[in-house]
Amino acid sequence: MLLAASVIAKVPGIDSGFFRLAFFLKLVSNGLVNGAVYALMALTVVIIYRTTSHLNFAQGEMATFGAFIVFALAIQQGIPYVFAIIIAMVISMVAGAGFERFLVRPVEKRSALGVVIVTLGLFLTLNAFTAAIWGTESVDVLKPFPGGLGDKFTFMDGPPQFFVTYKAVGIWITLAVLVIALWWLLQHTKLGLAYRAVASNRESSLAVGIPVGRMLMLGWAISAGIGTLAAVLISEQSNNLDFNLMGVVLLYGFAAAALGGFDSIVGAVVGGMIVGLVEALVPQLFTFIGSELSLAMALAIIVIVLLVRPQGIFGTKRIERV
């Protein structure tokens, strides 16, 4: 999206620069960087959906609030980024678990609609409080990775040059570490086993003595923590930090989750990458689409997935029992 703005298309149809290898690779790597962040947001959606079948529409605002905590700690207080991010993630996780326990669960018994409404209320409240505390203007950008002009790996000398910034590599490594940690947690610990049991069948889990409530809180906690991390990365990647940071990103995250399948963690990662690539490549391929319309592509992806394969690429088909 950033690059698309700088490339001025002269002729309608396919941009001729598209076929230059270095340019193409640059687009792909850009798409994969954005895609990694979308994958993180999709993960937050999937982790909650698997156990509860709810979508948390306040996910983005919770993440934005977390990013502002990092801002307050790292930039205003001067604490090193690593510690600031860890502290913010812990605070987010506690808040996420609290939201599940005290706001969502009491309402959940009554209706699924109630949960949607509560998360919307949370969206408005958090959005307003973030803006009230830190203002509506963009503040200093979070830069956890070195982002100077020379901080890059150059693969092909120019022009056009193909390089990958340290920042991009940092974002990919973050995603990889996170996915491996999540995989280890879910597949190789007792806690993960309990979480998967709840995801597969809540009633049976209850019957064999799994603390279902705590597993739901765990899901929200992990999701909130990952969300905060994603918000920090998107701030670095998009060079921006304001109270509406995640409004659009969450939509891409939902599109990625829909594409990959709402109950698949692998799907979230693959879906995020595909959405990132589509967002980077399609406006170059068809220049009349323009970068303003990249948001509309998120809508188009959701609609196409619903038409062609409603359960997503890796999702399991829901079977209704009569």
């Binding site: 109630g114 949370l122 307003a128 409080f129 319309l293 809508l299 609609v303 409603p310 009569v322």
Partner: protein, 373 residues
């Protein structure tokens, strides 16, 4: 005290209904005549929003699906009216059916993929629509049509005709027109939910599998309901151009969508009259919070708009805990202590012709209704 039982469509019920509508009409006339202009503008706003909330109510309350994108239909209707009025010199009233038609078609096209599948997919698609709409309205290629990021001015300028007996100001006249239109649309909607279509939708909401087995085609009815709901929201957007002579991209954004949902929840999900209460509530809430700003250090100075949003959010959550049925549910609950309206049961056609079937007593009706009214 035992509550009085009144059968629907009985003369006594008609008296209640006519009295209710008469009080409403008198109230509207008194407000249009007596209130200052800025308040009339708010009331006009509420009249238009009530129609949008009613549209949302039709889809949430009567089909159990939630739409997070009714603001987009609202904005779309506003733009449709603006283009017709400004670029094609249409009269204001003539734009309303067109806005409804366009909004309905758009709703149908979006509802079709989402409503085939159970779950939160409609919420997802409509959320995307609400986030995409402002960016679509802003793009340069459409600037001739939409006026770009600054919006499009719509000077409707419909003055009070000379034959109209009540001397009201321009704002008063606008409010009267919008209130009359809203009244008509509410009447249509309340008839619709009691019709075959309404019953089909309620059966789908309450037990989809059961309804399907009984021959109600889920995707068709739900998509139809969503299309009508979108048409209502679109018409509401067109209506608002009478009172507020500009349409802007952010009208169709996500924040308005949540405000509409707030109004719906406040008024009462599934209760037609709740939509009016909800619209009044969301229009007056920012007026209330404006004066609270000075008591709250966080929201001082020019942050009162944020305070209103925070209040909407907290209200939404609080309502789910305190009064999930909404204000009108509570009003009905209180009313049911004094008077209850029960449906008229169909005449019993007995298979055994020898048995005389007596008229159903009020007590029987109450039993079959389970005491709910």
């Amino acid at each position: 005290m035992k509550p009085r039982i009144i059968e629907r469509a009985s003369p006594a019920h008609r008296v209640w209904q006519i009295t209710g509508w008469a009080i409403l009409v008198v109230a509207v006339l008194v407000i249009a005549k007596g209130q200052p202009n800025y308040r009339l503008l708010l009331m006009s706003n509420a009249a238009a929003l009530s129609v949008a909330i009613l549209g949302l109510n039709l889809v949430v309350g009567f089909s159990g699906q939630i739409s997070l994108g009714h603001s987009a239909f609202f904005g779309f209707g506003g733009y449709t009216a603006a283009v017709l009025i400004v670029d094609h010199d249409w009269p204001f009233l003539a734009t309303l059916p067109v806005a409804a038609l366009f909004g309905g078609v758009l709703g149908f096209l979006l509802g079709l993929p989402a409503l085939r599948i159970r779950g939160l997919y409609l919420a997802l698609v409509t959320l995307a629509l609400a986030i995409v709409f402002p960016s679509l309205a802003k793009i340069d290629q459409l600037a001739d049509l939409t006026g770009g990021a600054n919006g499009k001015p719509v000077p409707v300028g419909w003055h009070r005709p000379s034959w109209f007996p009540l001397k009201v100001t321009q704002q008063g006249w606008q409010f009267l027109v919008l209130a009359a239109l809203a009244g008509l649309l509410f009447f249509l909607a309340s008839n619709m939910v009691r019709s075959r279509a309404g019953r089909a939708l309620v059966s789908l909401r309450d037990n989809e599998i059961g309804a399907t087995v009984s021959g109600v085609y889920p995707a068709g009815w739900k998509t139809g309901a969503f299309a009508i709901s979108a048409a209502y929201a679109s018409m509401a957007g067109a209506m608002l151009t009478l009172a507020i002579p500009i349409v802007a991209p952010d009208t169709g954004g996500f924040v308005l969508a949540i405000q509409l949902i707030t109004g719906l929840v406040l008024g009462g999900i599934g209760i037609i009259s709740g939509s009016v209460v909800g619209a009044l509530a969301i229009v007056w809430l920012p007026e209330l919070t404006r004066s609270w700003g000075k008591f709250l250090p966080l929201f001082s100075e020019n942050k009162t708009a944020l305070l209103a949003n925070a209040a909407y959010g907290i209200l939404l959550i609080a309502m789910m805990f305190v009064m999930p049925g909404g204000i009108m549910w509570f009003v009905r609950f209180v009313r049911s202590k004094f008077v209850r309206f029960v449906p008229r049961l169909p005449k019993v056609s007995s298979l055994d012709e020898d048995v005389e079937v007596g008229p159903i007593s009020a007590a029987t009706v109450q039993q079959t209704q389970g005491g709910s009214a």
